[in-house]
Symmetry: C2
Amino acid sequence: MESKFYNTHHSAFGSYFSFIMGKEGAKGGFVLNDVKSPNNNIYIGYKKKNENLNLMPYFERRERQEDQFVINEVPTSNEKVGTVQVINEESISRELNWASDTFKTGDLEFKLITAFKEVKNPAEMTDNEIKLALLPAIFGEISFDNTSGDEEVLLVFGVEGVGRLLSETTNNELLGGARDRRFGFACRSEDSIEESIGWAVPDYIAKGERSSNKLGTEVALTMKVPAGTKKSFVIALAAYREGCITSGMDASFGYAKYFKNLEEVLEFALEKQDLFFSEAETRDNELLASGLNEYRRFNVSQATHSYYANTELLINNKNEYVWVVNEGEYLMMNTFDLTIDQMFLELKFHPWTVKNNLDLYLSRYSYIDSVKDIHGNNYKGGISFTHDMGIGDMFSPKEYSSYERENISGCFSYMTSEQLLNWILCGSCYGINNDYKWLVNNKEIFVKCLESLKARALNETGIIDTDSLRCKAGTEITTYDSLDISLGQSRNNLYLGVKTWAAYVCLQNVFQKLDMKAQADNSCELSFKVAHEISSKFDEEKGFIPAVFENGNNSAIIPAVEGLIYPFIINDLDAVDENGRFKAFINILTKHTDSILKPGICIDSTSGGWKLSSTSNNTWLSKIFLCQVVIQKVLKMDYKEQWAKWDEIHAEWLTNSCSELCAVDQVYSEDGRARGSRLYPRLVTNILWL
Amino acid sequence: MESKFYNTHHSAFGSYFSFIMGKEGAKGGFVLNDVKSPNNNIYIGYKKKNENLNLMPYFERRERQEDQFVINEVPTSNEKVGTVQVINEESISRELNWASDTFKTGDLEFKLITAFKEVKNPAEMTDNEIKLALLPAIFGEISFDNTSGDEEVLLVFGVEGVGRLLSETTNNELLGGARDRRFGFACRSEDSIEESIGWAVPDYIAKGERSSNKLGTEVALTMKVPAGTKKSFVIALAAYREGCITSGMDASFGYAKYFKNLEEVLEFALEKQDLFFSEAETRDNELLASGLNEYRRFNVSQATHSYYANTELLINNKNEYVWVVNEGEYLMMNTFDLTIDQMFLELKFHPWTVKNNLDLYLSRYSYIDSVKDIHGNNYKGGISFTHDMGIGDMFSPKEYSSYERENISGCFSYMTSEQLLNWILCGSCYGINNDYKWLVNNKEIFVKCLESLKARALNETGIIDTDSLRCKAGTEITTYDSLDISLGQSRNNLYLGVKTWAAYVCLQNVFQKLDMKAQADNSCELSFKVAHEISSKFDEEKGFIPAVFENGNNSAIIPAVEGLIYPFIINDLDAVDENGRFKAFINILTKHTDSILKPGICIDSTSGGWKLSSTSNNTWLSKIFLCQVVIQKVLKMDYKEQWAKWDEIHAEWLTNSCSELCAVDQVYSEDGRARGSRLYPRLVTNILWL
């Protein structure tokens, strides 16, 4: 990778906290119940005897906070001189892997470990399994190779944004720093380790002193590495929040039932550290063995880190676990059009979280609407689902999202049709692949979904041509809310058309499994109608299907193929086979793709990266990754060495262009600058590369 | 008052939250477990039919947050035009009173009500009394006089920094906005009131629309005032935090045991609003009837608001109430050299909080030290107390403050002698005036304090001439830590000398009450020695006593007289009488004062305001107020019309110069600019004017 100074979230499953690190300067630190960096200093370095303190460049000089107090402080006894030196950026190497992030320079190494793994439904675990699965902690490991040294070396690990020493509340069993009860870091106490607290703590350490200013908000650990040895120190980094933390539906963190406070979390983490290190190594090795090129390995790693940073496992008042994935900078909860993209990772590692979301959408965030045609005539609608479940730990009222509003025809309007498709598709993938019993229990819901989907096409083609009456004077949109009309309008929309086709294919499969022949046949019939209708829109001259079947729209869009992923996931490979039952349709979509993956159309002429729509320079990496999987694995289109070039460009966007903002989804296609959707979980569609 | 645009905290007893308002621009809003303004918008205004929306200037235009999402939002049906107009600053009047803050313009009035009163020890109250006393809520009242109007008027009250509608969680019984579970505002639901939520909510209201964008962080209420009527609407503003919120000693908010959540607090507040309005009116009337000039009334009001903003009543794991006053921007808890200054208010309204602090200092934050002379020889010391109990809701370990550090001779060194004096003086005032039983229970402690105080003077004069060994290579300081040496050094210090005298006078009174004749006589003897020694330092030529009896110090300091307040408080008026037993001493301190209250010495030549030290331009309003009381009420010195001129200058410092920072203690004497100690509780020494 060309760039090494970019921020990454380091987080634990469902604990909605991150330790952010990677961008040079004061850009990192702990964040809890959010994903935005606090822009704090991180101190990682070493000091040899009679030399200066060398720190990696993850900090900046602050205005001296002491100056506002002190007019007459007399420097005391210690006469050693020593200053803080910033380690040359060039000398630093970094390797982000799936579950680790390693920073090296010379004999110094610092590694962050964020183990993740298959997690069973906690409702089916023992208490000890739950503690291991929900532990709100990650790890750091700082090492120095002093085997050829003839003097003791002092290692330093410190963080700004804390304010108390952990020795004080653990009877000196842990050493480290914490911010009140909320977050902190600690290692197991040993003689060679000391705590410092204060403002500008490195200034003291550089002079060989120990800072003990408890008004300060920086805590550092110093650790001795004797001459002739190599030594590593493991540091747990954790967060904790007790009590009810949500409104609308009262809930607390799942882990809070099993750990009393931050200290207990840190102690448990350090006790079980080996398990976490070994799990992380397993993940890292899996990714290295995947055969993916370095850019894809990076993209997968950065996306997975960002996904877990947004996860929040709650327990509500009825003692039910509630799974929440928060929407990056926007803070919306379980945004359904993200859930469907994150499903691919969840089905692999913890499919019960998909079920958890689907069930809550059904019980609390479903509604029955009517629909209208473009002339404003009203018709029967059916069941659908909200866009999200709330924002910023505030659950929205039953049947309503925080996002959707009436009387709008663009961003912030209703996504009724798309969310109906999302429930059908997520439900089908989860039910068919993972949980037949759940399918059986929900058979009536699938019937209702089928009826609702049919009700949204007043024409004979199966293509949705209505808008929910909830829109009032407005019209429905799709998840591509901030792109141009080519992807934004839901009515007569190519992207949503293919997703509608996929929903009918999936419903056919569901009903077949459930031995519901009439509904299966009906779904099958509609899948053909939709495929036929979409195919008929192919413009031979231009070589592609226009994005919207209205008003002479002429945009070319890559996500035309997005919907093909779902038959593939439920293993109905015939549906997506170039010689299968939708042969003509699949061939047309292949032609469509081949025509538009060209500079000036859906390849940006400046950057060479992918543009989702030929008529918008707003492009979304999560959807690029997803469509790449469809094009490469489902349609089996071979762009040879071009793939790695594209991968490099997209990896570059996630590093250089968006270096401060961790993973960013919405970027400008000409240079990859962040446009929106910062700190986003959705990018994890790229798990499908594996 | 010349200025009306300054911030003030509006807070409830012990709930450590504030609604900040008063400075023009976006400078106010809710803050919880801190006192710093979040710099949010506050919307207060009205709209007449077919006219623009008129808002008071407590907001600013933000960059449009919608712009990052929207590229194609089509404005819908509503064709009314309307914009937001800022009401002319000149037309606004403001009156801050002891328990209210009233903003008026034309027919519009907005009033914030922060009732406070005598509060009994909650351990001795019924549950209902506790709920009334600890309720974490204040009130706003918005009124419009539309009696001569012939069209309905729409009133607006809105706040930035919230994110959900209270109708949603209260079955429409309350209308208002909240930030998750933490804080919010609400009024009782009625037909004429509507909620709006969004970004830039006034833009919608100005157009006659209702904003319903739940991604936004502004909530406003609109309230209809029919033609020909005058109408008021009461809004409760509240905060809530459950669970353990401290570290070091686990504790939660006292009110959290009695209220389940924010909604319950708001409902209870609105149910009992009349009680609070009437209490506030009583306080306001008391202050108006006090005979104080308008500047003093302002200074008292601003100080009292800032004091309550810093109060935090906790319950610990042993079900004991723990009273905490936080130290403004510094966040230190129960800083003892502030406790003694805030005692005057607490003894009047809730003396049990003084006892609560004294007891916790004794049980957890006392220690036994040794002392050293200037040559470094060690001697027996005795009991003393720490500077504070922790910082930012993090209780420090037993026997240690967060502030004090070794090997320092200026700011951040130990205050062992001064804190010993503080416990003696607070304990004497509380015990003698309020609680004989407590005196009896603590008689051994008073003996230990006497012994410890005696041990700190190795000479025959009683003047402290040692430093605690806890300082190591450093030396002790006084509360005047950031002034120059004239007030900063504790050894041989005039200010501390007079405080030592006061401590012996108080101890004599305590021991007399306890029938402990030997100790009373001993204290009496020492009080004369100290008075004699201090008197002997009077420099006839200069007309004052130099601040430090060392190294030819030549500073003139006003707080020479500070200690005289304590004999006055315990009603030993003879001790401070010009013809009493310390006649010579009192006359010398009067002469001292008269000599230095002159421009160029302790009156700033530029501003005309008071300088605590002739050799520092750092001056502290809390101590100015306290010394004014001593000089005016105890020494009965008559500066005639000069008093009001000084009062006006000091009020001006608290308004213009420190307008954004609410109450500021440390200012530059030349112009009153804030220097430190922002948002401070200590200013409430001026309660003694009453």
